[in-house]
Symmetry: C3
Subunit: 305 residues, 3 copies
């Protein structure tokens, strides 16, 4: 019997494969019956030291559908942090007011630190460029839902593979399912060696590309991310490559019928709007899946299921 | 049988007369029994891209009294819009998290656009200087409640009749009820021709004034608005007329016994505080009526009644 | 039979001793059974014209555990106050949307003024450096809970005794219980004469110190506050005394076994973290007590118990 009661989730590796598959399976149940008033009387604190409307609203929608109550802040400017209080004091105090903390912070490691000082569980909703484990869970859910399996898939990752935390977590998680990876990025933004080693250790295959089309045609899942100008030391390098990572409808002529395009959102221009109405676009439904996954996670950690 | 289920309300003209009278009639029921736990499990997103505390709190009070849960933001600075995401992506994503969007935006047309991309209904809580239909509904409710009818009334509109969106909507709506209009404004802020034409088409009567007293004495309803300095090209014009649009108690000696003064609030100084304790002041009760009207509207659109 | 229904609480002196002891006694009940869904359908407005995350979250946690719904704002920048509306108009309008207002404001007297214009009760959550009565209630609750009585205690107050509003309120309240006061502060930040007169009128004893140790050793309760640099006209005065008001573990060798250290929080560095794990540290539990006390207060004022 799997129980995640009182467990914190800071990095996707805090849960083993069996545990996160359990969350995905519970999420399926919430997709069927989204409103389940099982968290009545529970208080959840959403502490967004850095604003992130989409993530916050998704968590708050999930908490509300469970019947929980929410306290918190959307922005550090409204918080006592401006009075010079230490993060650990803030967390210890809020731990008195709530049953669960969901937090986002601009500093790497802040959520881990919070989980160590709080005597209630903490869910990491993003700490700097480090971890965002619920994004990974909803990505996995979206892959499983659209492909009916997680096993033996061809997954293309496109864009900034060096700094994108969601990419690293997803590669790591998919390594458990005999995935073949198609890695498309500029030379300077390739997947870090440390992550490639994980793929090799599992004796899985990966291919690297600097252009998109071949990977698109082979993939069951295309995971798009943004290539940001700020990542390039030399602006000329950016200008030279940027157009290679813009996906439009004309590139979808020879893709697999059930290929689905994911994106952690927000997008800027890396997916053209003419893709939105194709059967391959899945990024908005992916966001909806996030609500079910977060319902499952909150319910598990509060010991409600 | 009138049903407004899944309908958006962006402009007051989106509802026909029968439909908005239906809302007023439902609102009366909520005035009698404000707490009706009929929206349990429903999630409402209040997206205020531009802050407006009074309108937001009124909607949130209404939603809470129905038992709905609320997610959202009070200010665009806390939203993902700062990451350069398009409005339509934001709306499409939030539509996954909620059953109804209530939005305010500084740009004209933003709410209409949102209602076209969202697959859930949208209520416009103000888009720039364009539309604010729930203000119009609560104005109508306040008129009907105090005068026991909407028909055959004398309505004075005072102040900035050129730019005030609430004035235009109210004139338009009252044209359906054989109203006589008394329009009091500076020369440069007269009611636009396009709105006067509506009055004429219905073969109704209007009078124009640059001073207030005569209109006050004839009116059943006096609708006050602010004359803002910024509306005048020539500051001397403003200085010359500004005192003509300040209402104080001494001007109420010969008004009708049941005359009621409305104001969309916030007021600055256009109604002197010595009016507040007269039987004619109705602007705070008017604000309270807004909660009942919004309860009725939300309940209708969610198909709960 | 004590009833606080519809009463406002602006200053601790608004309640007599019997009344606030009644709140403490109710709070004990909420400590045993924190979740009591007795405020269903009630709407509470939390109006924070000045941000104070910890106080706001404590009140919102309390309101949520009672089953009430919350509307409001965390920061004046998101409020209509920016449109030049008067405070009394804001309060009168919000009074239409809620059953109770909890407000914090940077100006002394703002909460009292609000309670006079609103036709619903108001709880002061801090008005400038003036009053913060619920802090006082939770301080009293923490003292009573840890010492099993409020009577005949030795209470040390350390730090800024001149400007600290929580200190003044607590001295005033403890004057009813035959307290001996140990007052530790820099010369320039001594307890004001007006407060010392209250002690003398009750024929109670106080001792004044500029160093901490002796007071620590005699005290049942040590109430720490911060000595802020801004309070000193001459920065050299500050530099000379500042280290005398920093409490660390080495100073706890000869204190009473059941001595407890309180702090209104947030602390900056006036209590060293090595104190946190001693049995004397009580400041985080003190914060938790604040939730029970606020539940009791809200329930009383709404007439729910």
């Amino acid at each position: 019997m799997i129980s995640l009661k009182k467990r914190s989730l800071i990095s996707i590796t805090d849960f083993n494969t069996e545990e996160y598959l359990h969350i995905l399976s519970m999420a399926k149940d919430f997709e069927k019956t989204p409103i389940q008033n099982i968290a009545e009387g529970r208080v959840i604190a959403t502490l967004f030291f850095e604003p992130s409307t989409r993530t916050r609203l998704s968590f708050e929608s999930a908490a509300n559908k469970l019947g929980a109550k929410i306290i918190g802040f959307a922005d550090v400017n409204n918080s006592s942090a401006t009075k010079g209080e230490s993060l650990s004091d803030t967390i210890k105090t809020v731990a008195n007011y709530a049953d669960l903390i969901i937090m986002r912070h601009s500093l790497e490691g802040a959520s881990r630190w919070a989980s160590e000082v709080a005597d209630i569980p903490v869910i990491n909703a993003g700490d700097g460029s480090n971890q965002h484990p619920t994004q990974c869970l909803l990505d996995l859910y979206s892959i499983k839902k659209t492909q009916k399996t997680l096993d033996n898939l061809h997954v293309a990752m496109v864009g900034d593979l060096k700094y994108g935390r969601t990419v690293h977590s997803l590669v790591e998680a998919m390594c458990n399912f005999n995935t073949t990876f198609h890695l498309v990025s500029p030379e300077s933004l390739k997947l870090p060696s440390a992550v490639k080693i994980l793929i090799k250790e599992r004796k899985l295959t990966y291919f690297q590309y600097t252009e998109m089309q071949e990977a698109l045609d082979k993939a069951d899942i295309v995971y798009m991310t943004r290539v940001q100008r700020e990542r390039f030391v030399d602006i000329q390098d950016y200008e030279r490559v940027k157009n290679a990572y813009l996906l439009d409808k004309s590139m979808l002529n020879n893709v697999k019928e059930n290929m689905k395009i994911l994106h952690p959102l927000p997008r800027v221009n890396e997916i053209n709007k003419d893709v939105d109405n194709t059967t391959h676009a899945y990024y908005f439904q992916q966001a909806l899946n996030g609500v079910y996954v977060r319902q499952a996670l909150i319910a598990s950690i509060l010991g409600l299921k």
